[in-house]
Symmetry: D3
Subunit: 175 residues, 6 copies
């Protein structure tokens, strides 16, 4: 049985993440999604709580019949880059590798001497969190096409767009 | 759909925890096991890493056909009792209540105004972590009867008894 | 007896804060000023220590005969937005609500299910900390009109303008 | 105007603390009570939140006409003994000395080169927190004589004895 | 015997630092280099680990026959400016002064009432870390002239330029 | 060139540590002493600051002509056992192994996959910190024979015995 760790912030979980998940499931039996910056939520840059991001992955798993193949852990920040890797690994089940599309993340696990797998990102200049949140802020519905359907529905359910707008627009007007 | 949060240290996951899990699954559709003190491991009091405790629950889930009904999150300590509850809830999916057999845990969630469910512990003076670790230290095989079969197998696989003995006996002889 | 919590950074305490305080004292018997980011001081963005900000509020209280109606607590950061609210509440006496002009702060307390009161800010584009510190940096005396007289006197006493200039100008020249 | 800082845990605020406060008010115009371990609460050793301890001092102040002469700040732990002093001082208004009956506390402020004042403790083997909490646990009403009347009333109001018993007795029975 | 503390981030240790060291060794018998932000490494702004920065200073010491006159300590961040000074001093041997070219650093030690020594920076607009890292990013070899020879060799040995480029360029392209 | 890391608390640095150092210097060219729990000091269990422990090692180095072969780093606690190893390694120069007489320490570095060297402790039931501090507390001069001469002199110079007695005896009498 082969298992891989897939860390990220997932603000929100988008189609780029989903493509990576699919790609990893071709090679591994199980993927453990490590939801990072887990202590964050309700800020402009991290609008969704770890619990909400957990539910996004959960909905993706349920809808795509991945139950039992995709699991989640929650990993708060410790602000010590070289230490964060050991910290994350100690909270994860044994895995054969750590997968990421982020070269910095790969770099840190390599420093620790851990096997890594570089994910081929699908259209990285299209699918990424900052862009999705910016579209939400500016009132464009285009963000819906950048996340899986069940994530879009979930964001609607928790009134996520309104939250992102309120958090990010207030940042410039409130003192 | 009803969901409940079940926090604990699970050093190790024993039959008392399993009985609680079964009891909760009668009332709730899903249980989210919150593995606490997640930053701990390889100490006498917390010999198993969060990743290992995650695997114990995982094995219990797989063996008992609970996949999709039992999920896990990992929650490191923050050493602020009254704050730890909000911290834990922010990392969990939405739940209808928090369940525990530990009155202190229940107290803290009540302080926050959160619904709690007191678990009826099954033979609490028999099934508890400290006793299990003590049996391991003193070389008694009796601990095997106190944990689910798949947890005993897992502890054997990771040479857990040897580790507990080494960690706890050394504590008194090394300086 | 009705009591309200009024959190802020107060870098420095200005006339907008004072107007909010006056407004709250019309509705509540007591206001507890929670001085946030209390561990900060002597940086460009947070030039005043929590103790100095405490003295600013103290001077305002003494000069305006508010002794016994306005109290202070000091609350260091914990860098966990959703947890900071429970942390702050656990250090405050029991209050009927949390008041703020900052929508993000209100949002976080709402997340916790706590009653909040939105303060009507008086001329928010005129009275705010960043602007006051910028006026100090650029050598304009206009900042004096934006803070209560006793705060201006206090800032003079501790040579606050010189400090702000030194801290903020050095930020760009020292390496 | 002379001001002194009086740090302590105040679990609960007892007659020994009150005697110290009275003694300090003979020599100083104002006393700033620094409520330490402010992040604690609802544990056997620290049953009362910082907010509750703040209210105990508040009630003592109000009842004894000390409003305007006794103030409070809240100081969470940082678990760095030699650093905690600078941390505490940075959150306090300017004081002429730090007063304590605890030689360790005095030692730490002396290390920093700060003026300290050793409080003459009144019957220290009678009035101290651990003893008061032990009396509560063992069901003796004698604790009432060891705290100011208004603190006893406050503890009754928040059902403090029941809480201490529940927290401390459970510590030995729950796992 | 006179000793001075010389704190800095040293990302990397450059000729400006070396000139300061030389200047301090004229007045003091020993210099203790305090390597700050010691928990950092493998980020764009802090590419080198504390251990690597320790080795840079070590190489400078060995090559310039300063063994026994220059020593090192490692000091992680605590994100509490006014407290960081006492924290740093508690980890250093007794020194007669703290030396820095950074006015903010001097300010903080002055706040604590500690003797400070302002270093006359040699061409501060030429020798500073940000500029050196920028030259590395943009592929210019000019950085070599800004650091001591043995530091340049060390950076080559650990493939430091490649690392800086990878960490800083990726920051803009990865999500 | 072979280098080894030697972590410990060194409260105080005693003859057992010195014997280990000598033993390591037979096999390695350089030893890096990692002074752990570096944020501690002025408590009964950790009476000496990291700076003082640094000076103890420094004096041993100077007196025994080990300058240039023995170096020191300072490592504060992070209270995450499995993470502390990566944290410590990131602050140390590159080493060939980590040496310890403490099996728990060795265990943790093994978990990380790092080479370790088990030190043969010389009379571990005679030379250990707790015993030395106990002798100090009980007024016996026997502790002098358990530490290197230059450490005994240093402890006299900083009035260390008086401090240990004051810190440890007060712990039982102050509340």
């Amino acid at each position: 049985m082969k298992r891989v760790l897939f860390p990220g912030r997932f603000q929100p979980f988008h189609k780029g993440h989903y493509a990576a998940l699919t790609q990893l499931l071709e090679e591994y039996d199980e993927v453990v999604v490590a939801i990072g910056s887990a202590q964050e939520g309700y800020t402009c840059r991290n609008p969704f709580t770890a619990g909400e991001r957990w539910e996004m992955v959960y909905n993706v798993v349920k809808r795509n019949n991945l139950t039992g193949r995709v699991w989640m852990i929650t990993v708060p920040d410790i602000n010590m880059p070289l230490t964060w890797t050991a910290y994350t690994l100690s909270m994860a089940p044994r895995v054969d590798a750590v997968a990421s599309g982020n070269p910095q993340t790969l770099y840190l696990f390599e420093w620790l001497g851990y096997p890594v797998k570089r994910i081929r990102l699908v259209e990285p200049s299209k699918y990424y969190g900052t862009r999705i949140r910016d579209l939400m802020i500016h009132g464009s519905d285009e963000w819906r096409e950048l996340v899986p359907l069940e994530v879009a529905e979930y964001i609607d359910e928790i009134k996520g767009v309104e939250r992102v707008r309120r958090l990010c627009l207030d940042e410039h007007t409130a003192h």
